[in-house]
């Protein structure tokens, strides 16, 4: 089995490894690092050691498995809902094209569904070499069993080296099944995908609630699979390569499902759990009064996001505790966090500073929040928020 070793001659007993370990897996004993049973080989200490004294040794050294070179091609899962291709797919096509070019192979979009011919043709108006379209009435709506089995079957037959899918509720659920069915690696929520010097897909993603970044490889299994969140990659521009559609009819037994989709219930979720939201608009004491939360809510609805609140406003009863963001509230890591009338006390920052993009609107130019924003507006939120809401609505049509 694998083991972790401290090269004692090199260890200076500085304790950086102890500080970096969140699992209480290492301690200093007699001036050198000593690993405990609680070490789970996550490798954070290897990175943290300033003198490279820590090594993780695997029992089976990476002898590349045979037949890996037979796997060629970059695949993108063409997620669809009720006949429409999900927007994330075009973003994956953009990235997929880059990877395919780096590997000198073709880029294929794989669509599962029913009545998707014109959607497939539309996909070919982008830099895609081929579309594989598995058609069956049973595949019209997503069900994890049939989608997982059909996709796995296609992967086994065609042997792509890379598979990308959107990190959506669909993508994450069924691709995780595929990874196990095929026995290969899957990395979720990637923010970075590159081909490294050895031709492997280097997959970078956040972990620990967004507090650290990890780069992952899948060296000995194929395909190398990754899911990517919406709005992380840039969508591909239209540019046809004259690709073709390969239509396949999946075997009957693959599309049979034990689970049944009984109904789809679309909703305008008023009380989105802010911890799950991609966009959060938060209000603070600078709003002046509970009635002004309306300005925050209108912007949130226009953006399709959730409403957050600073502790001060929750304590004052302007918003329920479930909306509180901060040290004693929820920690959030959305794509976009807009702080309105929030000064930026440390206790609040701790709850949202790993958000991808932070915007603040505050009339105090010296408010500490501006130290962590990507964009800020110094101004009266009573003027700014309605205009911003109107602009967002206009943009969305």
């Amino acid at each position: 089995m694998a083991e972790i070793i401290c090269i004692q001659d090199q260890c200076t007993g500085c304790g950086a490894c102890v500080e970096a370990c969140a699992y209480d897996g290492v301690e200093l004993a007699e001036g050198v690092a000593l690993f405990k049973e609680s070490c789970n080989l996550c490798g954070a200490c290897v990175e943290a050691c300033p003198v490279n004294a820590i090594v993780i040794r695997k029992e089976l050294e990476a002898t590349p498995a045979a037949g890996l070179d037979d796997y060629r091609g970059v695949w993108v899962f063409g997620e669809q809902h009720r006949g429409e291709i999900a927007p994330v797919v075009l973003e994956l096509v953009g990235k997929g094209r880059e990877l395919a070019d780096a590997r000198g192979c073709e880029l294929v979009v794989v669509v599962l569904g029913s009545g998707m011919e014109s959607a497939c043709r539309e996909l070919l108006e982008h830099p895609v070499d081929r579309v594989i379209y598995a058609e069956a009435a049973e595949l019209a709506d997503y069900l994890s069993g049939p989608y997982g089995r059909v996709f796995s079957d296609l992967v086994r037959e065609h042997r792509p080296e890379i598979v990308l899918a959107g990190a959506t509720t669909v993508g994450r659920s069924f691709l995780a099944r595929v990874a196990v069915e095929i026995h290969t690696g899957l990395t979720a929520d990637c923010t970075g995908l590159e081909i490294d010097e050895e031709g492997l897909l280097a997959q970078t993603r956040p972990a620990f609630g967004g507090n650290i970044m990890a780069t992952i490889l899948c060296p000995n299994h194929r395909p190398q699979m990754a899911t990517v969140r919406h709005k992380v990659m840039k969508p591909a521009a239209r540019s046809s390569r004259g690709g073709s559609i390969e239509k396949v009819e999946p075997k009957r037994k693959l599309v049979a499902s034990r689970a049944k989709l009984l109904a789809l219930l679309p909703e305008v979720e008023e009380t989105i759990n802010i911890a799950e939201a991609d966009i959060i608009v938060s209000g603070g004491r600078g709003l002046g009064g509970p009635e002004n939360f309306k300005l925050v809510e209108e912007l949130a609805v226009a953006l399709g996001g959730a409403v957050g609140a600073s502790r001060a406003t929750v304590d004052a009863g302007w918003k329920p505790y479930s909306h509180q963001v901060g040290q004693t509230g929820k920690t959030v890591c959305p794509k976009l966090y807009i702080a309105c009338g929030i000064s930026g006390a440390v206790q609040h920052l701790v709850g949202m500073q790993s958000s991808d993009c932070i915007v603040a609107i505050n009339k105090d130019p010296h408010a500490p929040i501006f130290q962590v924003t990507d964009y800020g507006i110094v101004g009266d939120l009573h003027e700014v928020l309605p205009r911003l809401t109107a602009a967002v609505r206009a943009k969305r049509g």
Binding site: A312, D315, G317, T328, A345, V346
Partner: protein, 392 residues
């Protein structure tokens, strides 16, 4: 789970403390400001405490509780943890304890079986009724009367400032059965909400502990069966004194909790607030204040726990120590919360910040269950008695 000095707690005591802290942090903290503002009775917290089996930590197992031999210590640990989040809300629990103690200390087995299980299970709350408009520190001058009529007592009078008044179902009430016998003329009774003639006055509007409900009790020819009399006629004040001996460390524990909560706020603030380019905690003026606050709290805590252990261990006359713990801890709470506001400066004065609430809550601990002047009186008398009893 908790850090701090090791007071040699048993496993059960640690569980009570840890669970109390969890309830305080997860359930009480988020609603403390709301209850302070509206004065709403915290029924939802009572339910949480009941579900967590915490309402009966001072009641023996045979009556549905989980005292595990150390009822006093358990009560103190829980009262401290809950008060750290909100003393007003904690009082719904603590005042029930006070109202239940006479039954625990002097009730017959039948009475205990009748009342304790529901209280231990959090299904009924209790309250203690001795104080009247003209009888505060001078408890012996109560005017409420209980006149025997066959096998019932007819009770007339009013009680003032009763915590849990109107919300509790079980009331231990003290009335005069024989005025001619002075201090030996009072008797304790168990009354229940809903008895004919038993009503409540308006809810008081208080400076602090606003999450708790304080009301007048009104008795107009309330007929109470003999089976609800606690102990023999004339033993009322003795029961009351015995009760206070056991309950005062509980009040002290509330005070310690309030003080600790205030100190935590002050330390967090001083640590993050920067002036003149540094955190204010790095200025000795502020640092020394925090150090003094912390020392006092720890000393109070140690005294409270020692007293609780002393009583749990079966001490016959713990009056002096009970009074010490209550007086010392509540004085500490008042000092600490005053200084906590000072540390927060202007922010400390604003109601938006939680510190001023601790200050308002702390004050009553110097007053109820015997003012600190009465406590000092008790201590002095005990000292003199000891001196008189010693051979010269």
């Amino acid at each position: 789970m908790a850090q701090g000095m090791d007071y040699g707690l048993t496993e059960t005591q640690e569980m009570i403390r840890d669970l109390g802290r969890q309830v305080a942090d997860e359930k009480i903290k988020p609603v403390a400001a709301h209850h302070d503002e509206t004065g709403e009775f915290p029924w939802e917290i009572i339910k949480v405490l009941a579900d967590a089996d915490l309402m009966g930590v001072y009641i023996p197992e045979e009556y549905g509780g989980s005292a595990d031999g150390t009822p006093g210590m358990n009560m103190c640990l829980l009262a401290e943890e809950l008060s750290r989040a909100c003393a007003g809300i904690a009082l719904a629990f603590a005042a029930t304890g006070l109202g239940t103690l006479p039954i625990l200390l002097s009730g017959s087995d039948e009475q205990k079986k009748r009342f304790l299980p529901n209280i231990a299970g959090g299904k009924r709350l209790a309250a203690f009724g001795i104080t009247e408009a003209n009888a505060g520190s001078d408890a012996a001058s109560i005017q409420t009367t209980a006149v025997k009529d066959g096998d019932t007592y007819v009770i007339n009078g009013t009680k003032q400032w009763i915590s849990n008044g109107g919300e509790a179902e079980v009331y231990t009430v003290f009335a005069m059965t024989d005025r001619t016998r002075g201090a030996r003329g009072a008797t304790a009774f168990i009354l229940e909400k809903g008895m004919d003639g038993f009503s409540f006055g308006k809810k008081e509007d208080k400076l602090g502990i606003r999450g708790s409900t304080t009301r007048e009790l009104v008795f107009e020819d309330v007929r109470v069966p003999e089976a609800n009399r606690l102990g023999r006629e004339g033993t009322g004040f003795m029961i009351a004194m015995k009760t206070f001996d056991v309950s005062r460390p509980g009040v002290a524990a509330q005070a310690v909790g309030i003080a600790q909560g205030a100190l935590d706020c002050a330390v967090n603030y001083a640590h993050t607030r920067k002036q003149f380019g540094k955190s204010i905690a790095s200025f000795q003026g502020v640092g020394f204040m925090l150090a003094d606050m912390a020392m006092k709290i720890e000393a109070a805590r140690a005294l409270v726990y020692a007293t609780a252990r002393h009583i749990d261990g079966g001490a016959k006359r713990p009056t002096k120590y009970s009074a010490m713990s209550k007086c010392f801890a509540s004085d500490v709470a008042m000092q600490v919360t005053t200084d906590a506001i000072q540390v927060l400066g202007g922010y400390g004065y604003m109601k938006e910040y939680p510190v001023e609430k601790y200050f308002r809550d702390a004050k009553v601990t110097q007053i109820y269950e015997g003012t600190n002047q009465i406590q000092r009186d008790e201590i002095a008398r005990a000292l003199i008695k000891e001196a008189a009893g010693r051979k010269s």
